[in-house]
Subunit: 304 residues, 2 copies
Amino acid sequence: MASFASRLVDAVRSKGNPVCVGLDPRLGSLPEACLESSQDLETQARAYAKFCCQIIDVVAPMVPIVKPQAAFFEQLGPHGMVALGQVLNHARAQGVMTILDGKRNDIGSTAIAYAEGWLGGSSAWGADSLTVSPYLGSDSLEPFSETAIQRDCGIFVLVKTSNPGGGYLQDVTLPEPEKHVYGRVARWVEEQSQNSSDNSGFGPVGAVVGATYPAQLKAMREAMPHVWLLVPGYGAQGGGAADVAGGFNELGLGGLINSSRGIIFAHQNEDYAEVARSDGWQGAVAEATRRMINDLHGVGIRPN
Amino acid sequence: MASFASRLVDAVRSKGNPVCVGLDPRLGSLPEACLESSQDLETQARAYAKFCCQIIDVVAPMVPIVKPQAAFFEQLGPHGMVALGQVLNHARAQGVMTILDGKRNDIGSTAIAYAEGWLGGSSAWGADSLTVSPYLGSDSLEPFSETAIQRDCGIFVLVKTSNPGGGYLQDVTLPEPEKHVYGRVARWVEEQSQNSSDNSGFGPVGAVVGATYPAQLKAMREAMPHVWLLVPGYGAQGGGAADVAGGFNELGLGGLINSSRGIIFAHQNEDYAEVARSDGWQGAVAEATRRMINDLHGVGIRPN
């Protein structure tokens, strides 16, 4: 199999856009078509699987990658995890790549257990990549990156997050050249991906950098030329197309722009009321995805 | 229901020791009595549940709390998560408190989903407490602590971890009084627990502080007087009873000393070969637990 980085380059180029659709199911926002009358955990989990799989059916031909959020499935207990497994299987069957957004982290053999469980077609879950949190240090990240490399998969390390309090630890200052705690994480990520990059120009270790700090996004793009950036915070969290333009290199590659609520719950948005009436909630998902792609194209974000 | 902190004080006092047994099942180390001939994920998961539940049967009368490690169950996919649910249920039925070691972390409503899923008898998983990673900042920790308080549950925030590379981010220096990144996390943890402490003297927000840095453990005890410390690194990771003595206050409270492999895989240890022959692998677990309790008592670690 090709490396994660080169599969991602191919997927972004073939779809012509860098959109990641975040699969964050919430009971109160599901379309009625996905709900059943009973509300026990097993029924809810079945509704989550149905909803997410039907979104995948819509977006798999349109975007390169989807990102299920583990938390919402975990909230439903073991039934929710069965649903998460179905969603990941369905994404693979539909040919769209996956990021499992679990922000996992641990040390030694425990980190290996997470990585081996989530990453690759031979694993129990079969995700293409996993988000990872770095507080435990570089030796806690290595088991994730090593397993990812072995399996032609990837990880995305939290570097600079989009929440208001993200700077509490991340912005603590360090001497040059790292400047900040997040700069130290970025340096580790770049070193890892540089050392294992292939002719795609990228390596298997990506970084999460929020869209809410456009100047930092541009600086991080420059500091990590071999790194895929996963950029949350577009749309509902306030970042617009112009804010994420700094996340791409001169070939229009290297950034993945995530939108969750803005796409998956488009049927609740007045802007899509008409299309939802005519084409149903999946029609609204398709239209919201198209508009996001157009907005990115409109500011010149398009892979060469 | 009483608060998490006061339930923990009661449990430690009634058992007369602060031992936390880490439930880290690994296929290669399970006693033969727990294995089946087939090796598919469902069968492995059933073996993990059997092994962990039988350990709980042994240690529930002896120790205040057990700590299932999410990673090893997640490694087996949805079947593993079903097993984890059974283990948490069994612990509750046997009257021993639980820490779900998941090192979860996220922001806003996603953090709430994790907290609401894992914490409390009304949740899908029903754990008493959850380990949480702080890289995303204080606003990412608040949803966890608020849910914990509402549900008479607790969280343990990673402060200073026991791995060699833990200092990579945690030891980055800051001005007084915080001194280090981990000191900033410690200050937040102490503030949270001080503000919501009860007549147990402790609050619902605990801290993970490794046993491999005894001087820092003592300093952290002093910096966080209202905080339960979860101390990994005892035994297999190199810390001994004298190394963890600094984790307790003048009443012999405030510390939980975790041992995983040293207890649960005692049947593989030559020191317990004789008892394993006469009393089986569960006899070895009981004997290893007794010896750990005795070792702690031997250096004066005993609740008043």
